[in-house]
């Protein structure tokens, strides 16, 4: 086998995979492009609880397809995004959203990056201080 034929096989595999990706949401697009855009955005924000690291847009689990149907129907029925996420959170909890709301249960989750940034900043300042106190020609260059 040459590199060339290997390459061709890889390309065709990749092409096959994209067709699988597109086949996940088998439903036809919504008539209104605005609604379709909202639908696409929403289903990418909702976690599939069966396969938790996939959104319901990415998952072909039966539950994901049921939830897509639910979102689709609510969108065409005139529900706002807020109403749809509230509907899902009431049933599945905050975990169903990839961006859960800031509340008593999630403040650590949202606060942790800031905390780590703060800790990193303190460590940085400390290192600068230690270095600043050293005579230049004796500095080891940590």
């Amino acid at each position: 086998m040459t590199y060339r034929s290997n390459f061709l096989i890889m390309i065709s595999c990749a092409a096959l995979m994209t067709s699988i990706v597109w086949a996940i949401d088998a439903e036809p697009e919504l008539e209104s492009p605005t609604l379709q855009a909202r639908y696409r955005l929403l289903i990418n924000e909702i976690r599939c609880l069966v396969c938790q690291n996939q959104s319901i847009a990415d998952s072909n689990a039966p539950l994901a397809s049921d939830l897509r149907r639910e979102v689709r129907e609510m969108i065409t029925g005139g529900s706002t995004d807020k109403e749809i996420t509230t509907f899902l959170v009431a049933r599945y909890g905050d975990f169903v959203l990839y961006r859960p709301p800031f509340n008593a249960r999630t403040w650590v989750l949202w606060g942790a990056p800031l905390l780590f940034l703060g800790v990193g900043f303190l460590v940085f300042v400390r290192i600068l201080r230690v270095r600043g106190n050293q005579p230049i020609d004796e500095g080891e260059g940590m």
Binding site: L49, Q52, D66, E70, R91, Y92
Partner: protein, 184 residues
């Protein structure tokens, strides 16, 4: 000495986070329905579609709602235990047959035994969404006032029944005084 203090503190915090995070079961998502009124539903029964089964039928007594399907391996695992609960009249069990084939489901009950007072047939899974179902088998403990007391996700076993369900039932019955037939 103090130069080791900060790394040690960071290590300590990380150890606490990992000890907690790595022992949690990511497959278990707590239900927001606990303590609230059970979602109302009315569906055709599995065995006789001309009859309905709904949340109203479950009022007035402690009961279980068990979400099952013939495609669900865990449901088969727990089925024998559900049969035992039913035979010993421990608690009435209602079934929610989730996204299943009606013929296959009836056949399953005929061959493995039917522990259910009745099963509702939720072919398109809409009622299951209202109940926040995501992985069968799931078992809800429903109070006589129609509130959701507890939800167990995974096959039901005697151990889980005694460790998780019984204490909650006892606590619930202290508050609402259950009739004698409700539980052992």
């Amino acid at each position: 000495m103090s130069r080791y203090l900060i790394p040690l503190m960071i290590l300590g915090v990380l150890a606490i986070f990992f000890a907690r995070g790595l022992t949690l079961n990511p497959g278990y998502v707590p239900s927001p329905l606990i303590g609230k009124e059970a979602p109302s539903f009315k569906l055709p029964r599995l065995k006789d579609p001309s009859l309905t089964l709904g949340s109203e039928d479950m009022l007035g007594k402690l009961s279980l709602l068990n979400v099952w399907a013939t495609w669900c391996v865990g449901c088969r695992q727990e089925h024998q235990y559900l049969n035992e609960l039913a035979q010993n009249n421990v608690i009435p069990i209602y079934g929610l047959n989730w996204k299943d084939d009606r013929v296959a489901a009836v056949n399953w009950l005929n061959t493995l035994g039917d522990p259910y007072v009745a099963s509702a047939f939720d072919g398109d899974g809409r009622v299951a969404i209202d109940w926040g179902v995501y992985g069968a088998p799931e078992t809800f403990l429903i109070g006589q006032d129609g509130s959701v007391i507890y939800k167990h996700i995974a096959p039901l076993t005697n151990e889980i029944w005694e460790m998780e369900f019984l204490p909650l039932i006892q606590k619930h019955c202290q508050k609402f005084s259950c009739s004698s037939g409700d539980l052992e």
